[in-house]
C-alpha cells in the first residue's frame, strides 16, 4: 500500500533521513519508535508530503506521489493524519471541524457529512460535544475529535504523529483506546509513539529508528523480546 525507496531528507546541511526503504501492506499497524531526533516524525510527515523529501520515491496505492507533477491533494484525502498538538480549528465547532473537509474537498452534501460525523463522534465517545468549541475540550477530547476529523474523509491509512505526547497522563488511555479500536477494525496505521506498552500490544510490526535510519524491525515479540542490535537494546533498556 505504501512503498518507500531510498528516502532522504535534509534540512540545509543537516541530513535527517538517510536512505529509508519500507513497504507497508494494507491492514498493517506499523509503529515507529526511537530516540528524539531520530527522524521518525520527519519520516511520517514525508509519507503525505508535509515534508518534501530531498530524494527518493514514495508510492501510495501504486501512485508515485513524490512525482512533482502529481497533485498530492488527491492522495492526502485518503491519508488521515493526527498530530501531537491536535491542530483542531479553534474558530469552528467540533461538528464544523469534522464536516469541513468532506464538504469542501469531497463535495459531500451537508446532511450526509453530518450523519457520518455523528457516527464518528459516537465511536470516539463524544457525541455530546458536537456543538462545543475546541477551547472547551480537554486534551484527550481534542485528540479524539482530531481522530474523528481525519476519519471523516474515509482514509485508507492513518498516520499518527506522537498522538499522546502532549496529553496529561490520565488522558493518554482514552486516546489509545480509540486507536486500538481502529486497529481492530483493520485500519492501516503508521504510528510514531513513545508508548511502548501500546506499541507492543497493537503493533503488527515495530520499527526502531536512530540517526535517520531504520536500525531494526520485527514483530513486537522479536523487537522487544529479543533485539538484535546493540543500539536497540540500549534504547529499550532506557525506556522500558
Amino acid at each position: 500500500m505504501i512503498n518507500v525507496r531510498n528516502l532522504n531528507k535534509s534540512f540545509g546541511q543537516l541530513q535527517i533521513l538517510k536512505g529509508i526503504d519500507l513497504d507497508i501492506v494494507k491492514g498493517e499497524v506499523v509503529v515507529l519508535i526511537g530516540p528524539s531526533g531520530s527522524g521518525k516524525s520527519t519520516f511520517l510527515r514525508c509519507l503525505n508530503l508535509l515534508e518534501v523529501p530531498t530524494s527518493g520515491e514514495i508510492r501510495f496505492e501504486d501512485q508515485l506521489i513524490t512525482d512533482k507533477k502529481y497533485d498530492i491533494n488527491k492522495s492526502r484525502e485518503k491519508m488521515g493524519m493526527v498530530f501531537q498538538h491536535f491542530n483542531l480549528f479553534p474558530h469552528k465547532s467540533v461538528m464544523e471541524n469534522i464536516i469541513l473537509a468532506p464538504i469542501k474537498v469531497k463535495k459531500m452534501d451537508k446532511s450526509t457529512a453530518e450523519k457520518i460525523a455523528l457516527d464518528l463522534l459516537k465511536t470516539v465517545g463524544l457525541e455530546d460535544k458536537k456543538d462545543a468549541y475546541p477551547s472547551q475540550l480537554s486534551g484527550g477530547q481534542k485528540q479524539r475529535i482530531a481522530i474523528a476529523r481525519a476519519l471523516a474523509m474515509e482514509p485508507h491509512v492513518m498516520l499518527f504523529d506522537e498522538p499522546t505526547s502532549a496529553l496529561d497522563p490520565e488522558m493518554v488511555g482514552e486516546v489509545l483506546d480509540v486507536m486500538k479500536k481502529l486497529a481492530e477494525k483493520g485500519m492501516t496505521m503508521v504510528i510514531v509513539t513513545h508508548e511502548m506498552g501500546f506499541a507492543k500490544e497493537v503493533g503488527d510490526r515495530i520499527l526502531f529508528m536512530d540517526g535517520g535510519k531504520i536500525i531494526e524491525q520485527g514483530s513486537p515479540e522479536q523487537l522487544f523480546g529479543n533485539p538484535q542490535q546493540a543500539r536497540t537494546r540500549d534504547f529499550l533498556s532506557k525506556v522500558l
Binding site: G80, L88, R149
Partner: protein, 220 residues
C-alpha cells in the same frame, strides 16, 4: 451654546460634508481591505516577482505622503496621461491605495501569526492551499488582528480629510466654507473636530463589542 447654534444654522453644510466623508471612508475601508488582502498574499507568494510587486507596493505607498499621492493621482495623471478622475474618484483611489498598504502589513502579520499546525492539518485533509487560506488561516488571522484593523479604519476616517485640497466637499471643505461666511474660524472647526471624534469613538466602541463577541466564542 454657540456651537449648537452654529451647527443648527449651517447643518446642511455639515451634514452634506459628513455624508461625503462617510462615503469616502467607507469606500477606502472596503477597497483597502480587499486590495490589502491581495497585496498581503502577493508579499507572501513563493514567486519572487510577485513578492517584489507586493513589497514595492507597501514600501512606496507607506513611504510617501498621502497628500502627494492624492495630488499625483488627481492632477498629475490628468496633465500627463489625460486620465481625468472626478474629485470623488481621486479621493477614493488614494484612500484605497494608501490604506491597502497599511492593511496588507497588518494582514501579513496576522497570517504569519496563525500556527503552522493549522495549515498542516488542513492540508493533511486534502484541502488545497487556496481553500486552506480561505477557510482556516484567514478567519483566524483576521480575528487576531482585529484591533489593528480597527485602528486603521479610524485612521482612514481622519485621513480622508486631506481630500479637501482637491476640492472634495467633505467635512473640512464644508467647514472652511462656513468660516468664510461667518468670519469665525474657531467654532466651525471645533464642530468639525467634534464630528470626527463622534465618528471614530462610535467606531471604536462598535469594534470593541465585535471583538469581545469573537473572543468569547473561542477563548483559549
Amino acid at each position: 451654546m454657540k456651537l449648537f447654534e452654529m451647527f443648527w444654522e449651517y447643518r446642511s453644510y455639515f451634514l452634506s460634508g459628513l455624508q461625503y466623508t462617510l462615503l469616502l471612508a467607507a469606500i477606502g475601508v472596503l477597497g483597502g481591505f480587499i486590495v490589502g488582502i491581495f497585496i498581503a498574499l502577493l508579499r507572501m507568494s513563493r514567486w519572487r516577482i510577485l513578492k517584489f510587486i507586493g513589497t514595492a507596493w507597501v514600501e512606496i505607498l507607506r513611504g510617501t505622503p498621502m497628500l502627494v499621492q492624492l495630488l499625483i493621482i488627481h492632477y498629475g495623471f490628468a496633465t500627463q496621461f489625460h486620465l481625468e478622475f472626478s474629485v470623488l474618484e481621486s479621493g477614493a483611489i488614494t484612500l484605497i491605495l494608501n490604506s491597502s498598504a497599511y492593511l496588507a502589513e497588518i494582514f501579513r502579520a496576522g497570517i504569519q501569526g496563525v500556527d503552522r499546525g493549522q495549515t498542516e492539518a488542513a492540508r493533511s485533509l486534502g484541502m488545497g492551499s487556496g481553500m486552506t487560506m480561505r477557510y482556516i488561516v484567514l478567519p483566524q488571522a483576521l480575528k487576531n488582528v482585529l484591533p489593528a484593523i480597527g485602528n486603521e479604519f479610524i485612521t482612514i476616517i481622519k485621513e480622508s480629510s486631506i481630500v479637501y485640497v482637491i476640492g472634495a466637499a467633505e467635512i473640512i471643505y464644508q467647514t472652511y466654507t462656513i468660516t468664510t461666511i461667518t468670519y469665525d474660524a474657531m467654532t466651525p472647526y471645533l464642530i468639525a473636530a467634534i464630528m470626527y471624534f463622534i465618528l471614530t469613538f462610535m467606531l471604536s466602541k462598535i469594534l470593541g463589542v465585535f471583538e469581545r463577541k469573537l473572543m468569547n466564542r473561542d477563548k483559549r
